[in-house]
Symmetry: C2
C-alpha cells in the first residue's frame, strides 16, 4: 500500500508509491549533453556580448575582457527592473506593484564544456563566494525582501543557454513557498524552542536510511516527504539561517559536497537535467534561531506533474529510502572530501 | 517595466512581463493529435481490459460491455488503495499514514477520436453528472476529506493514454494548495462578510478586460495574477461552494461554456496540451458562504517552470489582459450557448 507523508516544515502531504517503486533506469528522459556548437555569450572572449559585468574574479586581464574565473552580469532579458522606487497600489480588490528587482547571471566558469559536477572543487568554491558577495551587496538595498539563487541545468529544466550558469533574483516580496517554510519553521520553534531542521538532521543522521553523503560541515538527505523522485536536500549540519553568513572553511566544504552529490546524480541518473535552489532566510530577519538555510536539488525526471501545479498534491513514484540507497552506493572517487 | 501582482485569494505574488509579452504563436510546443493507433482499453468493446466499472450511463447493453456513453472505472494503477482503516502514525518528528483513498477514471466518451472540445454539449453534460454522482457517493465515506477531479489532456500535460478521460482522487487529507485557497477565502469572508470570488466576479464583469466568455450561469476569466500564460478560471456567477450542489440547468450551462472555452483554446493555441482541475470545498464543510467552486484550466505552453516548483515564484510572459483579448476574439460558432 502507498504511504501518505507530511513534510514536517510546510505541512504538505505527498503520496509515496511504495509498491511499484521506480528505479533510476525507469525514467525516460534526455541526457544533458553539452554540444558546444554555435555562439555563446558566456564564453571567454565574448564578454562584450553581455551587459557590463557587476563582479568578476580574475587573475589577469581587464574588466569586461577575458582572464576571469567567475563572472556576474545583469540578465540581458531581466524579469524585473532595478531602477525606480517601489510603488504598491490597488486596483479594486487587487494588489500590485511595479516590478522592481535585480536579475543577475552568475557564470561559474569561462569554459563552455564544464558543469558544476566536473569543475574542480576550488572553482565551485569561487562561485559560492560570488553568490555571497552579490547577496551581501544587494542586502544593502532596502527595497529587497528576498534573494533567490537558483540553477536550471539542461534544457528540460528550463536552461536557455547550455553554458553553465546560475541566476540571482532579488525581490521586493517574499515568495509564497519561502514564506510557508519560514512560517512552518517559526511555529515549530515557538512550540519546541528548537530549529526544526536541526531536529530533522539529528533524526536522519541517527536512522541513516535517507542520508546520502556527508562531510564535516554538511549533509545531503533524501527528505522524508519528497515531491519528486530523487529530490535532495543539502544542509549545513550546524544551525545557520542565512547562506551568506557561512564561514570561509564552510564554503570549501560546501563546494566539495555539492560536487560530490552532482557527480552521484550524473552517475546514477545518467546526466539528468535538474533545478537547484538555495533556500535562505528572508532579508529583514536573515539571522535567526528558527530557520536553517539549505539547497534543494530536483532532478527533472517526470513530466507527470501537470495537475500538481494546480493542486499542490504530489505523487512520487520513488520512496526517498530507495533514492538515497542508489545515490549512497554510487561510487564516487574522493566522496565529499575537500581535496 | 514588468508588474508584480498578488493573487487575492492565496496571496501569491507573480511577475507579469508587460514589456515583451508573448503572443500565442510565440510558444513552441507539440500540438495534441489523436492518432488512434494501437490498442486502447477505454474504447467501446474493450471493457474487459479495465477493472469492473463503478458507474456507467448506457442506453443499451450489459454491465462491463458496450453501449455506454460515460463510464467510470477504478484506475488500474491506483495512487491510493480503497481498503482498510486510516492509520495515522509518527516516525520521530515525522507524520505519515497509510495510503487510503480512491482513484477512479471517468471515460467521457467511447469514441477514441473525440475530445471535450469536440464532444456535443449534451455529452459533456453527462460527464459532469458522472463527476457529481461519484462525488455524492464517495462523500458518504467519512475517511475522505477532499475529492480532486482533474484532466490531463495530451502527453505533455501528463496523459498516459490518449483516449480522453478525467481522473478522480479521493483523499484522507486536504491538499496544501486547496487549504491555502480555502483559508484565504475564509479570512476575506471574516473581514468583509462577502465571498472573495463573488467580489472578483463582480469587479471583473464591470471592467471586462479579463472576461473571455459568459453565459447565464457561468463566466470564464483570465485571472488577475496568473502563474502561467493563458491560465483560465471558469466560475459559477452565483455563489456556490461545492461543485456537486449545482442545479440541473447549471450543469447544462457549464457543459456549454466548457466546450466553448476549450474550442477557443484549440483555435488560438493550436490544440494545446492542458490540465484542468475542479476546485471545490473540502468535504466536512462543503456548503459554506466563503468558498466558491471553480475550474482552473492551464495550457501547457512553457517548460521554464523548473525552479517555480521549488520557490513558488512564477514569471508569466503573457499578461492576462492579452490572453483574454486573444481568446475573446476567437471566432466560435454558438459561443457559450447551450444549443
Amino acid at each position: 500500500m502507498p504511504e501518505l507523508r507530511k513534510d514536517p516544515v510546510t505541512g504538505r502531504w505527498v503520496i509515496i508509491a511504495t509498491d511499484r517503486a521506480k528505479r533510476p533506469t525507469d525514467f525516460v528522459r534526455d541526457k544533458v549533453q553539452i554540444r558546444g556548437s554555435g555562439f555563446c555569450p558566456f564564453c571567454s572572449g565574448n564578454e562584450s556580448k553581455t551587459p557590463p559585468e557587476i563582479l568578476a574574479y580574475r587573475s589577469n586581464g581587464d574588466r569586461n575582457g577575458p582572464g576571469w574565473t567567475v563572472r556576474v552580469v545583469p540578465n540581458k532579458f531581466p524579469a524585473l527592473g532595478i531602477e525606480g522606487n517601489l510603488n504598491r497600489e490597488g486596483e479594486g480588490l487587487y494588489d500590485k506593484m511595479n516590478g522592481i528587482g535585480a536579475h543577475e547571471v552568475i557564470i561559474e566558469t569561462p569554459d563552455h564544456m564544464m558543469t558544476l559536477a566536473t569543475l574542480p572543487v576550488e572553482r565551485i568554491e569561487q562561485a559560492l563566494w560570488a553568490f555571497r558577495d552579490r547577496i551581501v551587496d544587494l542586502k544593502k538595498d532596502r527595497r529587497f525582501k528576498y534573494i533567490l539563487i537558483f540553477k536550471n541545468h539542461g534544457e528540460a529544466a528550463g536552461a536557455s543557454l547550455e553554458h553553465t550558469h546560475s541566476q540571482l533574483i532579488a525581490l521586493p516580496v517574499v515568495p509564497k513557498r519561502v514564506l510557508e517554510e519560514v512560517d512552518g519553521a517559526r511555529e515549530y520553534y515557538n512550540f519546541k524552542e528548537r530549529c526544526i531542521f536541526c531536529d530533522i538532521i539529528r533524526q536522519e543522521m541517527e536512522s541513516a536510511t535517507r542520508v546520502i553523503t556527508e562531510n564535516e560541515a554538511f549533509v545531503v538527505l533524501a527528505p522524508f516527504a519528497p515531491r519528486f523522485p530523487f529530490e535532495l536536500w543539502l544542509l549545513p549540519k550546524g544551525h545557520q539561517s542565512a547562506f551568506e553568513e557561512s564561514q570561509k572553511h564552510e564554503y570549501q566544504q560546501l563546494a566539495a559536497i555539492w560536487k560530490d552529490i552532482l557527480t552521484r546524480l550524473d552517475r546514477i541518473l545518467d546526466h539528468p537535467a535538474y533545478n537547484s535552489i538555495i533556500h535562505s532566510s528572508p532579508l529583514p530577519e536573515a539571522s535567526n534561531d528558527y530557520y536553517h538555510w539549505h539547497i534543494e536539488i530536483i532532478p527533472k525526471l517526470t513530466k507527470v506533474a501537470g495537475f500538481e501545479w494546480g493542486s499542490g498534491f504530489y505523487i512520487n513514484p520513488t520512496p526517498p529510502e530507495e533514492s538515497a540507497k542508489f545515490l549512497r552506493e554510487a561510487a564516487v572517487a574522493d566522496p565529499a572530501s575537500t581535496r
